[in-house]
Subunit: 226 residues, 2 copies
């Protein structure tokens, strides 16, 4: 008796993790990578992947020892949860005045529990926004996600003006630091030449350049724009 669908918090988290780790190329994701990302043991991952692949409508395509990829259903659910997350962040930030370094944790919990109805109401209330407060695109209801042409900050050429596109929301301290430096999505910056160990020298228009620590710089995407 293969189980039907339904989706728990744990399942949602696996699907989101697979989507994030597989990248735009939809590469296979290893158990180890998932275990690290989810902070659980690899053995637990294997068990779950076997279940997710054995569902009546499987959420993943799984070949033992070769990693997993999302099935269409799995991708659909993952995008739905990400949509919930980013809409919630936008909502908490815009309507309830949450500071942008605090929205992530709350959204991470609630994303699993809001109904389709609430999702729609929030989106309507916000005017169907395209991005969360950190600059990440909000998937549409049909799963469409805006193209991402941005690159990591450390890969942007020196001397070419660019615009901060998004900032990782996984580390509140990093977000506070970015805010302090004025490096919020939409900000125009120049990369200055300087010693590289992953760290980056950034200049916000008209200000003194600042050095960003590698952990922080790694979470910043930058795109074209004056």
């Amino acid at each position: 008796m293969t189980k039907s669908s339904a989706s728990t918090e744990a399942v949602d988290d696996y699907l989101k993790a697979i989507l994030e780790l597989s990248g735009p190329a939809d590469a296979r994701v290893t158990s180890n990578a998932l275990a690290a990302h989810l902070s659980i043991r690899a053995a637990s991952v294997t068990g779950m992947l076997q279940k997710l692949a054995a569902l009546e409508t499987p959420f993943v395509l799984y070949e033992k020892h070769r990693g997993v990829r999302l099935s269409p259903a799995g991708r659909r659910r993952a995008l739905e949860v990400i949509r919930h997350h980013r809409l919630l962040e936008r909502f908490l930030h815009d309507v309830l005045d949450y500071p942008w370094d605090e929205v992530h944790e709350e959204a991470e919990r609630l994303e699993h529990y809001i109904s389709e109805r609430l999702e729609d109401r929030i989106a309507a209330r916000l005017g169907h926004p395209g991005h969360d407060p950190h600059g990440h695109p909000i998937p549409a209801k049909n799963g469409a996600v805006a193209e991402r042409t941005e690159v990591e900050l450390s890969r942007w050429p020196c001397g070419v003006p660019g615009t901060i596109s998004s900032v990782s929301d996984r580390d509140p301290a990093a977000l506070r630091e970015m805010k302090r430096l004025g490096l919020v999505p939409g900000t125009s910056v120049l990369i200055e030449p300087g010693a590289r160990t992953g760290s980056v020298l950034v200049r916000v228009a008209g200000q003194t350049p600042t050095r960003l620590a590698p952990e922080i710089a790694a979470g910043v995407l930058i795109g074209e724009g004056s």
Copy 2:
């Protein structure tokens, strides 16, 4: 090793049920009553009550075969969850335009997952309301609940003007019916004499009296007021 605190969705639901069933007199609640209220088996209730009573800080006082009562900690948590629920209902209704017969279900799910922080933001945003959209009082953060002097509609004396105080939110159809009849909290009404089988003849100021079915009337509280 007795387990510490933490509180799951299931635990919250038990505590809320005990609070609701024990009434203002804080009477003991039987396993059977809980089982019926929660739509689960009595045997499952027994197991859970034993756990809730064995916690490092017990949520209930439990004597086998004699029912349970909430401990101070249990009461505190129950009131917190009810506060979440009613604040959420108010919020969904006022800020997100949910119809009043739909707020209950959504709030029932979310009440377990909102942080203290979000609770506070919502309360602030609403101006610290005292009642949910159905007229039920919202417990204060310290657990204080407004006195309830109201009585069931069927117990209100005929001919004495009263004001609809609250309407049970457990049945969406009943709520729609009440809305249709204009019987929302705050409405002034008169009870007309008429055959009683639990049903009630109500007259909203200036209108023709309507007969309320017993299931519906049972969920309505009425108090003094023109």
